[in-house]
């Protein structure tokens, strides 16, 4: 019987690899660990190291069992706090760590390796940047090395590493092919999601809200336009419409929230006029709102169109999300305003901001026409001494009064709030819109990047015959912010990117470094579009480009032929195929001449050496006698004389050239 035995013992070489793999698989998951998990993993690793250097024995079975039970119990208790997926991940990590210390034979090692691959996949669910993916590919290769080390004892670590990495390298082409052609399926069932803090703008805005975002240099989304992008002052990315104001903060109206919850989409049938087409790649925000210009429509799956002309994802954005948008800048929003909505958009908080109300009354008396009134209010912002600042002075319970009449300094939310308040106080339906304004153009890859610090708030007022009209009071105080972009205006301000002291965006002052930053950003962009966002549409596009119209037969032929090519390639690089060729080109060239001579009637008998044969040729074919004797001399020199490397090289050259000449001459004969 096979004994359980030599073949199953883990060699020291493998133990070494196991130490490496444990660290490299677990480290990228650092943000998923609970402290308890981290402690157990550290104990297991230290214990393994102890076994490796021979200081401790294997842990007793009882200890492992107790540790396992304790960790499972603790996880069960904390899972509700950290979320189901995180809990499962921690369970898996713990299982990995515990299996890791009690490994006895190669079977256990194989299981540890398989779980390792699974953990790598788990890491990829949370992290998807190109650099992370490269790092994880390397970790996959290291994991593979552990398996190789089981079958290669007593070799140096770098030899095993070479094989492991070579295997991965040779497997990449087929993986790429599968990635290209394998059909993509829609999600089959619902999965638990990572519980993470939401990022980006939130659905309620108070006077301190947007200020927080202006400190962040994180990417919010990227946009790729079909055709030229609109001017910067047209780029108002609508994300949320806030209609309820309680005197302190702005929130979404419940009617809209209800629609969002019900996942009901409204079709904008009336959209007409010129459209702007673009694709948005939104970064994960763990929220639902999407970004679009003006009247935005989209036919991408899982996107709802809301009655306030916004786009809304029916699923939380837990990873990058790509969608196509058609915007209609010239289409009017809500020519007829519903009575309920009108009421909502005229409501003001009770007993607040009496001074502003009084000011509004005076405007109403002075300018009876709504358009005139609004333009008067707007121009008052630029005519009076209002300042734009990201560090505004604090306000009391009557926010608008304090800002509008006392401080006269604030940022977009302040101005937008004041305008909406004034408009509503004079009988014009108005609402606050939040989103992003502007974008940074990357000319290397032709796309627009919108960062969190470009978050903005503005107002929309409803006018008879015009529908909802966008008014941005900030543009009156700081027109550069809107026309030239956020960076041009704020670079000098203290709170600009305060939370991102090491952000690459700070390189803007150095042209060369900025160029480098943009190039790296475009690589990341292509990665998002072509790898992370590779869906069935893109697949069809690529396949069509590769082979024209896709038919089943064509696809099959394409698959099979590329598979055959790849397998041959691997076999060749593995050293399995040998194309045996006569390596001695001198002999073969000489023999070819002899063969030709034979055809011409001068045959060489078996006992004839080159010199002897040369004499025969000289007597029988005098026309080539001179050349052939020269050839024979070269041949003898190359074959039997010791030559310097350079001499050999030049003689070989002469010999080959001469043999060609003789052959030509013989053929002509």
């Amino acid at each position: 019987m096979t004994t359980p035995n030599q073949q199953e013992i883990i060699s020291r070489h493998s133990l070494m690899w196991l130490l490496i793999i444990n660290i490299s698989v677990l480290l990228p998951l650092y943000d998923k660990f609970t402290p308890w998990t981290m402690a157990i993993c550290a104990i297991c690793l230290v214990w393994r190291y102890g076994i490796f250097i021979g200081k401790v024995a294997k842990p007793p079975r009882l200890l492992v069992t107790i540790l396992a039970l304790a960790s499972a119990l603790t996880l069960a208790l904390v899972t509700s706090q950290i979320g189901l997926l995180n809990g499962l991940m921690n369970l898996l990590i713990l299982g990995y760590a515990l299996k890791y210390i009690e490994m006895k034979d190669r079977r256990d090692v194989r299981i540890v390796v398989l779980v390792g691959y699974f953990l790598i996949a788990m890491t990829l669910i949370g992290q998807q940047s190109i650099y992370y993916s490269l790092l994880l590919t390397i970790i996959v290769a290291i994991n593979t090395c552990v398996l190789v080390s089981l079958y290669r004892e007593d070799v140096k670590i770098n030899e095993t590493a070479k094989i492991g990495f070579l295997l991965i390298l040779q497997s990449l082409p087929l993986a790429l092919l599968l990635f290209l052609v394998f059909p993509r399926l829609p999600p089959l069932w619902l999965m638990p999601q990572l519980k993470t803090d939401q990022t980006g703008i939130s659905d309620e805005v108070s006077f301190g809200e947007i200020q927080r975002l202006t400190r962040s240099a994180a990417l919010a989304f990227r946009v790729n336009f079909e055709g030229a992008p609109p001017a910067n002052n047209k780029l108002y990315w609508r994300a949320l419409v806030l209609e309820d104001y309680d005197g302190n903060k702005w929130t979404q109206n419940d009617s809209i929230k209800l629609l969002e919850l019900k996942k009901q989409s409204v079709s904008q049938a009336s959209s007409k006029g010129l459209s702007v087409n673009y694709t948005v790649i939104a970064e994960k925000s763990y929220q639902n709102w999407l970004f679009g210009l003006d009247v935005a429509t989209s036919d991408t799956e899982n996107i709802m169109q809301l009655p306030d002309y916004r786009l809304y994802s029916s699923k939380i954005l837990t990873q990058k999300f790509q969608y196509k948008v058609k915007s209609y800048p010239s289409t009017l929003m809500d020519i007829e305003l519903d009575h309920d909505i009108k009421k909502i958009n005229l409501e003001l908080p009770q007993n607040k901001n009496p001074q502003t109300l009084a000011l509004a009354k005076s405007y109403l008396r002075q300018f009876p026409k709504p358009e005139d009134r609004l333009s008067a209010i707007m121009s008052s912002f630029s005519q009076q001494a209002y300042f734009y600042t990201l560090t505004p002075p604090s306000v009391g319970p009557n926010q608008i009064d304090d800002f509008l009449l006392e401080n006269k300094a604030g940022f977009c939310v302040h101005y937008a709030s004041a305008l909406v308040f004034m408009a509503r106080a004079t009988g014009i339906p108005a609402r606050m819109v939040t989103g992003y304004q502007g974008g940074e153009w990357n000319k290397n890859a032709n796309y627009l990047s919108i960062y969190q610090y470009m978050a903005h708030a503005w107002t929309e007022v409803w006018l008879e015959g015009k529908g909802w009209v966008r008014l941005d009071p900030t543009a009156m105080i700081a027109p550069e912010r809107v026309i030239e972009g956020f960076d041009a205006y704020f670079q000098g301000q203290d709170s600009y990117l305060l939370d991102s002291p090491f952000s690459a965006l700070r390189l803007k002052d150095y042209p060369l470094l900025n160029e480098l930053r943009l190039s790296l950003a475009s690589i990341d962009y292509y990665w998002s579009v072509w790898v992370l966002g590779f869906d069935s549409n893109k697949q069809e596009q690529v396949l069509q480009k590769l082979m024209g119209k896709i038919t089943r037969e064509k696809l099959a032929v394409f698959m099979l032929s590329s598979l055959a090519c790849i397998i041959l390639l691997i076999a060749y690089s593995a050293g399995l195929l040998h194309f045996s060729r006569n390596k001695d080109k001198i002999s073969s060239a000489y023999l070819r001449v002899c063969k030709l001579l034979d055809r011409k009637g001068v045959s060489r008998s078996l006992d004839q050496g080159p010199v002897d044969f040369c004499h025969t040729v000289e007597s029988q074919l005098p026309s080539i006698a001179k050349e052939f004797s020269q050839l024979t001399q070269y041949y003898i020199a190359l074959k039997y004389r010791t030559l310097t490397p350079n001499g050999r090289k030049s003689t070989t050259k002469l010999f080959i050239r001469l043999s060609r000449q003789i052959k030509l001459k013989l053929i002509k004969l």
Binding site: L167, S171, F182, P186, L188, I570, L576
Partner: protein
């Protein structure tokens, strides 16, 4: 119910062995190639494929292209492994080397020389139900591996097909072959100590019985040549051989003492023929050890009295090949 299944199992094994015999006929030297190499995934390989499926599902459900990509990479790795597994046996040349003498009941050892044009790793060699040999690396230089084979019977023993197996590089695929290296050997009978048979002969003779049939160094008969020992009498030097350039050799002479012994099967007291053969085997070894001259008579077949290693082997083989009664 169990009987038919048993017989179908037998049928399958029979069919399998016949098919193997046709496909891979016995040969002293075999170089493995596509015709003789089989590949199937191991249990771990199937688990691996399971993991790939799981990752694909996970990636699909999270709509995560990177996880899907990882599952494709692992599947592709499996594919690469098939090629590497094949390479790890393809071109492996195995040749049988004449095995050393052995008695029934001992574990036989079949030496097999292994070499390959390219380096191969972790090749396992085993006869069915026997211990497995692990050869870490096989290179161009032939390497000999002693493969054990448990055996209880005497006579011509032909081990079953040897199994060559490899799971390199990742243990995903098992590559194997069953090779018949045509390495039969004659296994001597199990020796059983028996003084009775020698003493029964010895009782006939009154003179020193232990010296019967043995040679003592003397001058009558030429025994052979051996290496000259420095200081020996020059008279014994074989000058002719020296002239031929064969080196300094000494001539050895001996003289027989008494009559040669005849060993026969019928003389023995034991009833069982196997036991008698075993006893004779022991006697042959004993007599050879002492350097006595003896002959062997089995029925009509007679081996003329002689001595020396060759004679011993001849006698033992003859004994080993006596057909046993119970078989057939």
């Amino acid at each position: 119910m169990s009987r038919p299944s048993h017989s179908t199992k037998n049928k399958i094994t029979l069919w399998w062995s016949r098919w193997l015999a046709r496909r891979l006929p016995p040969s002293q030297t075999v170089t493995l190639a596509h015709k003789s190499i089989f590949i199937l995934p191991t249990g771990f390989g199937l688990l691996w494929i399971g993991l790939c499926l799981l990752l694909f599902l996970l990636g699909t459900n999270y709509q995560n292209n990177l996880v899907i990509g990882l599952s494709f990479l692992l599947i592709s790795l499996f594919n690469t492994c098939i090629i590497y597994s094949y390479k790890n046996l393809a071109g492996l040349t195995m040749s049988s080397i004449p095995p050393p003498q052995a008695y029934a009941g001992e574990t036989l050892v079949f030496p097999i020389a292994l070499s390959s044009r390219h380096v191969q790793y972790e090749v396992l060699l085993s006869y069915p139900n026997n211990q497995t040999n692990v050869i870490n690396t096989i290179e161009k230089e032939p390497k000999t591996s002693l493969v054990s084979y448990k055996n209880q019977h005497r006579g011509r023993i032909s081990p079953a097909r040897i199994k060559v197996e490899s799971r390199y590089p990742l243990g995903l695929c098992r590559t194997w072959s069953h090779i018949d290296l045509d390495n039969q050997m004659i296994v001597f009978a199990h020796p059983i100590e028996s003084h009775s048979e020698l003493s029964s002969l010895e009782s006939d003779d009154i003179t020193n019985p232990s010296d019967r049939g043995s040679h003592v160094p003397g001058v009558d008969e030429f025994k052979g040549l051996r290496q000259h020992i420095f200081g020996e009498s020059l008279r014994q030097v074989a000058w002719k051989q020296l002239a031929q350039g064969r080196g300094m050799l000494s001539k050895e002479f001996q003289q027989p003492q008494g009559q040669p012994i005849w060993l026969t099967l019928d003389n023995l007291t034991a009833k069982d023929i196997e036991e008698r053969i075993s006893k004779l085997t022991w006697s042959v070894d004993r007599l050879s050890e002492r350097g006595q001259i003896f002959g062997l008579a089995i029925g009509q077949h007679k081996i003329t009295p002689s001595q020396g290693e060759q004679h011993r082997v001849h006698c033992l083989q003859t004994l080993a090949l006596i057909p046993s009664r119970r078989t057939d």
